[in-house]
């Protein structure tokens, strides 16, 4: 008896949130399989549920859940997993093969019209291809089209285009648009919206118009991700790229270079930890103040457990990220929650689950009601420059010792073909101090982007009422750090063919991506409006300019011979092109602006050889502007072979005033430039030398100014020495990791198919003299800067055509 009593006490204590929320079962006829795929209230308070075997049933929930009576509204649907109530007797359902409008036109309570709204997507016959649905807030819809699983087959006869390449892998996209979020307008016109999903079983729009998807645990899913779905974004799972016309040119999605996939990946806003969630059901935003102190937060049921997670989101550096914790975990909850619905201003939500077919049967609908007793837990968690700021739903008994009652650690999840990830690269963090008495700022010794921070509250951290917080575990996904206060805010303005970058309101640079056969940055102004580049040939007839080397256009990237095509000159017979595919992301308005693009490298016949993703970061201070270029060269279609040539790889053509020598014949009569490098070499002799940086300085239009060009010390060079410079007296400065050996360069370099070469450079454009700008110190700071965070990834598995042919030998 004693043990029993003890057991019941610990049980109550371990379910603190359960003490604030009552769970009741909504009755169903015993023989009705209540495997819910969609759940929604209409405006008259009727609750609709669509069930896996095909029925849509309706009830008006009353006080007593045991006496719930259901009526059948519609039948004959194929595994419907999404439903929208448009009007009484008028619903929209996403079933396996179709988005269907269902109408009860004669108002007898039973639907009599089943209209096809869209079938413009593929279906392979695989059991896994279910579709979820939500409204776009403008009269249209978003549909989440799940992928197929290799645990099931596909048919001989499928609908819409079938692709053998899309069929490859664990979860796959053999038929049109599987793994996508698509938009369907009110007339049924379907447009692809975002790719990269595995099984986004559930899709929602929040009141602010943002679109959210969870995804099920699995391949390319380290934890249980919550995505903020942006238009044209790729959300990590590669198979769906089969239906992206921009990406098809780079080959089989499953075998794309890992770093390319990582670069394209719209990182999940929140990675719900595998400690608290297996698979995400549909995200639900709490819009009622009567359901406890969590208005505006997101609830996500666990499709593989008896728990609901709570997600707190905020926008940091232009993107959503945030924290998650367990909201409710109880043996009373049915396993496998998929959908949540709530009546406006209600104290109760309705939680629906379905597990049949892949787990012990446990299905139905439950009502979860807030009983007015505020649970003691974290109410909000936001990121600070060096840690986290937390507020609680209740005052603390002893606010001064919270630091001792809290531990903070962090880890990363792997991104790759494996099913889920263990916690990698774990770190324990020292809490250097905690400040505040009602909200608490935890200052950490170290905070890093690309990590999941685990904040663990001890069970003896008590509220003023003496309650302990249970499930005192919180995970914050730090994708981005808080930017420092911006004295020189950087902004971007995109027009059809270029993006202009301004620093503190003054034009700094323009990125031209569409018309020149390769992306070009030009013109560039240092502080004080000093023009830093030659205009020719982008602008003709600027006085004092020579018209030599017309391929030296602003800042440009290329090489005289990469895989037999010439990317340095655009005017030659075998010249290739670098085609802008898309802006992957851009950030603006902080202390720096950032543009990340995807580009295709094509030879003179237009055949795609490789790809690059380049991240350009723009910023500035009192006397200088900086531009960082981090470029990943991806060997997508074949090995990238950079043959040894002096003309490469990233070049800048300076303003004619910065030339070291004049050339009256070409119209450059007077020059004012000097040059030096990090090794103390000066003048024309910097050409063909190795150095960390090269600096051209002097006066431009009678104003003191200069350009320093840094090569990051981590850049590869075959000889493991400093960068080799192709820096000419006439104003070309280029860093070339593939220069001929006989000129002292590093020689030929090959990036193997499936692999990526990363190179990083910085340009500093300054006003004033050499003494004013202190290049040495600026380089030392640059050398310490980390790369943009990349995921931990399992190695590329190799190409089947390669390893299978080796095996047969």
């Amino acid at each position: 008896m004693k043990t029993l009593l003890y057991l019941s006490i610990t049980l109550t204590a371990s379910l603190a949130s359960a003490a604030s929320y009552t769970i009741e079962n909504i009755a169903f006829p015993k023989d009705m399989p209540a495997e819910v795929g969609g759940l929604a209230f209409d405006k008259q308070g009727y609750l609709y549920a669509c069930l896996r075997r095909g029925d849509v049933v309706v009830t008006k929930p009353g006080q007593d859940p045991e006496s719930t009576k259901w009526k059948v509204f519609a039948t004959g649907l194929h595994n419907p997993m999404g439903m929208i109530l448009l009007a009484p007797g008028h619903i929209l359902v996403s079933q396996m093969a179709e988005l269907t409008e269902i109408i009860d036109s004669d108002k007898d309570g039973k639907a009599d019209q089943y209209n096809n709204i869209s079938t413009q997507f593929g279906i392979s016959g695989n059991y896994h291809e279910t579709n979820a649905l939500c409204q776009d807030g403008k009269g249209g819809y978003y549909m989440a089209l799940g992928t197929a699983s290799h645990n099931g087959p596909t048919f001989f006869n499928t609908r819409a285009t079938y692709s053998k390449d899309g069929r490859r892998g664990r979860n796959f996209s053999s038929n049109l648009l599987r793994g996508w979020v698509v938009h369907v307008d009110k007339n049924g016109k379907l447009t692809p919206f975002a790719s990269g999903f595995r099984m986004h079983n559930g899709i929602s729009t929040s009141p602010d118009g943002e679109l959210w998807c969870g995804d099920n645990q699995g391949d390319w899913r380290g934890g249980s991700p919550i995505y903020n779905v942006r238009a044209n974004s790729f959300n990590g799972h590669p198979s769906s790229l089969e239906w992206d016309s921009d990406m098809k040119q780079f080959g089989t999605p499953l075998f794309l270079p890992r770093i390319l996939l990582d670069d394209l990946h719209n990182q999940p806003a929140v990675q719900i930890s595998r400690k608290t969630m297996y698979s995400c059901g549909e995200p639900f935003i709490i819009q009622s103040e009567n359901f406890g102190p969590f208005l505006g937060q997101m609830l996500v049921p666990d499709e593989n457990g008896r728990r609901i997670n709570r997600v707190m989101l905020e926008k940091v550096d232009g993107a959503w990220q945030g924290a998650s914790t367990v909201f409710l975990s109880s043996n009373k909850l049915r396993a496998a929650g998929v959908r949540i619905a709530m009546e406006a201003a209600s104290k109760s939500l309705y939680y629906a689950s379905t597990a049949r077919g892949w787990q012990r049967p446990d299905e139905g609908i439950q009502r979860i009601t807030f009983n007015g007793k505020v649970p003691f837990h974290v109410k909000a968690c936001t990121l600070t420059p060096d840690g986290f700021k937390l507020t609680f739903t209740e005052a603390l008994k002893n606010p001064t010792n919270i630091g001792q009652k809290t531990t903070i650690s962090s880890y990363r999840y792997e991104y790759g073909y494996r099913y889920g990830s263990s916690e990698k690269d774990k770190k324990n963090h020292k809490i250097s101090k905690v400040t505040g008495s009602s909200s608490f700022e935890f200052h950490l010794d170290h905070l890093e982007a690309g990590r999941i921070y685990e904040i663990n509250f001890s069970s003896d951290l008590l509220s003023s009422r003496g309650e302990s917080m249970n499930n005192g575990l919180l995970h914050y996904t730090v994708n981005r750090l808080q930017r420092p206060p911006a004295k020189f805010p950087a902004t971007l303005t995109e027009t059809g063919e270029k993006i202009e970058i301004k620093i503190a309101g003054k034009s700094f640079a323009q990125y031209h991506f569409s018309k020149l056969g390769q992306p070009i940055i030009w013109p560039i102004q240092a502080p004080g409006g000093i023009s830093m580049l030659r205009d020719y040939p982008l602008k003709q007839n600027t006085p004092g300019e020579a018209n030599d080397h017309p391929h030296h256009r602003g800042i440009f990237i290329g090489h005289q011979e990469m895989s037999r095509a010439d990317f340095w000159h655009y005017q030659h017979k075998n010249s290739g092109t670098v085609e802008h595919i898309k802006v992957i992301e851009s950030r603006s308005g902080e202390d720096r602006a950032l543009i990340k693009t995807l580009n295709a490298w094509k030879n003179s016949q237009g055949k795609t050889i490789g790809a690059d993703t380049r991240t350009m970061t723009f910023g500035g201070d009192e006397i200088a502007r900086f531009l960082d270029i981090e470029i990943n060269m991806h060997a997508t279609n074949q090995d990238l072979v950079f043959n040894e040539f002096k003309d490469g790889f990233i070049g800048i053509r300076t303003h004619p005033d910065l030339r070291l020598t004049a050339k009256p014949k070409l119209g450059v009569k007077k020059v004012f430039g000097q040059s030096r490098n990090s090794e103390g070499i000066q003048g024309k002799s910097v050409w063909g030398k190795r150095a960390d940086w090269v600096h051209y300085y002097g006066t431009i239009d009678d104003k003191k100014a200069g350009i320093a060009f840094f090569s990051h010390p981590k850049n590869i060079t075959a000889k493991k020495e400093k960068a080799w410079w192709h820096a000419r007296d006439y104003g070309l400065i280029a860093a070339n990791p593939f220069a001929p050996k006989k000129l002292g360069g590093d020689g030929k370099y090959t990036v193997k198919k499936g692999q990526t070469l990363t190179l990083r450079y910085r340009f500093v454009f300054h006003k004033g003299s050499v003494e004013d700008v202190n290049i040495e110190q600026r380089y030392a700071e640059y050398a310490k800067e980390p790369l943009s965070p990349t995921s931990i990834m399992p190695p590329h598995p190799g190409y089947p055509e390669d390893y299978l042919s080796q095996k047969s030998k």
Partner: protein, 360 residues
């Protein structure tokens, strides 16, 4: 009753002492756990699901479908493909199956916008798709329900409908628009072909194994019906209207349950196959990765600690017990009740044990 098309059918019919199971839908008005749902003439059951192909000619009857292909077997463990292939299976992905009781079941396809086949004395056994009513477990690798009963009509040749003498198959891909249910609750399908909007209703014909098809078009065109090897009796034909009766053109009996293949000798390979088809793969990794259930890697001979049982070393008995009665012991750190119980043949348990032993 006269046997017009296939005289031997009459003989066959005499032998079919059919005891049609599953009549829940007409009495309940909703689908139950019964995997053999049936409607009635008064309450037709409309069921959208994957359906079998039953040997229809893909090139003639399914031209608007794309063609699937074999795919390389994929190792989720190494991320590599093998030279072995996974073949596709037969099935139709986007059709509508309807049962009107003993006399008529049929499948009408939304991709081809045509009737594919019809049968009597049965409907679909949904167990492959809906799973076992008690364990919830799915039955096999594919999910196509089994057709049972006697198939008396199968679509042959290109789309049979003609509009003003022009075959519908020459008008491009037809576009399915939806269906309505009249007071008789029988679906009338609507689709677009060229500039025409056609409706079709399928009902039992005047005698056993016949079908009544009622076509209508809003544009008052002359509608025709032409199908090789199919006897058709026109009941009514006027501009924009065509009612006809189709006589049986096939005769094929399907049993409700597929015969179970008896495994004689357990092998590791059979075990590996079961690991995939039974769904073990979803929760038990082979590479040491943590999931809902413990990894199989190196599990045999390893020491296990349990939530409420004495620790033990993994042996054959324990593996068998874990498959048959997964609730018996729950390994520490895992959630109890995640795994359904599996009732297998003895050789299947033994094959799984051999496979698990091999995962080192």
């Amino acid at each position: 009753m006269k046997c017009l098309a296939l005289p031997h059918l009459c003989v066959l019919f005499g032998f079919l002492a059919v005891n049609v199971p599953g009549k829940d839908y007409p009495s309940k008005g909703y689908l139950t756990f019964d995997n053999l749902p049936m409607g009635s003439e008064e309450k037709p059951l409309v069921l959208r699901t994957f359906v079998p192909t039953i040997g229809l000619s893909a090139s003639d009857v399914l031209p608007n479908h794309s063609t699937g292909a074999a795919s390389p077997k994929y190792s989720a463990r190494s991320g590599k493909e093998a030279s072995k292939q996974t073949p596709p299976i037969h099935g139709i992905p986007a059709a509508i199956a309807v049962n009107m009781g003993k006399t008529l079941s049929y499948v009408w396809d939304t991709t081809e916008c045509r009737l594919l086949y019809a049968w009597r004395d049965g409907f679909l056994n949904m167990k492959n798709y809906w799973g076992d009513p008690t364990s919830g477990r799915r039955r096999g690798f594919g999910y196509v329900p089994n057709l049972y009963g006697f198939v008396f009509y199968k679509a042959v040749g290109p789309h049979p409908v003609e509009i003003n003498g022009q075959s519908l198959s020459s008008l491009g891909t037809p576009a399915y628009l939806g269906f309505t249910l009249g007071h008789d609750r029988i679906p009338t399908y609507k689709y677009k072909a060229g500039n025409s909007q056609i409706t079709i209703k399928v009902e039992p014909g005047p005698s056993t194994q016949t079908l009544k098809l009622s076509f209508a078009s809003t544009e008052q065109e002359k509608l025709g019906f032409k199908s090789p090897n199919t006897q058709v009796q026109v009941l009514k034909s006027s501009p924009g209207l065509l009612h006809l009766v189709i006589r049986p053109n096939a005769g094929e009996n399907f049993l409700s349950e597929e015969k179970k293949v008896e495994i004689k000798k357990p092998t590791k390979d059979i075990g590996e196959g079961l690991y995939t088809t039974l769904g073990c793969i979803a929760c038990h990794s082979l590479d040491g990765g943590k999931n809902h259930g413990p990894t199989l890697k190196g599990s045999y001979g390893a020491k296990r600690e349990f939530q409420q049982a004495e620790p033990l070393v993994v042996d054959e008995d324990y593996i068998r017990e874990s498959i048959e009665k997964p609730m018996a012991k729950t390994v520490k750190g895992y959630t109890s009740g995640m795994m359904p119980p599996y009732q297998l043949q003895k050789a299947e348990y033994d094959s799984l044990i051999l496979f698990i032993k091999s995962v080192r």
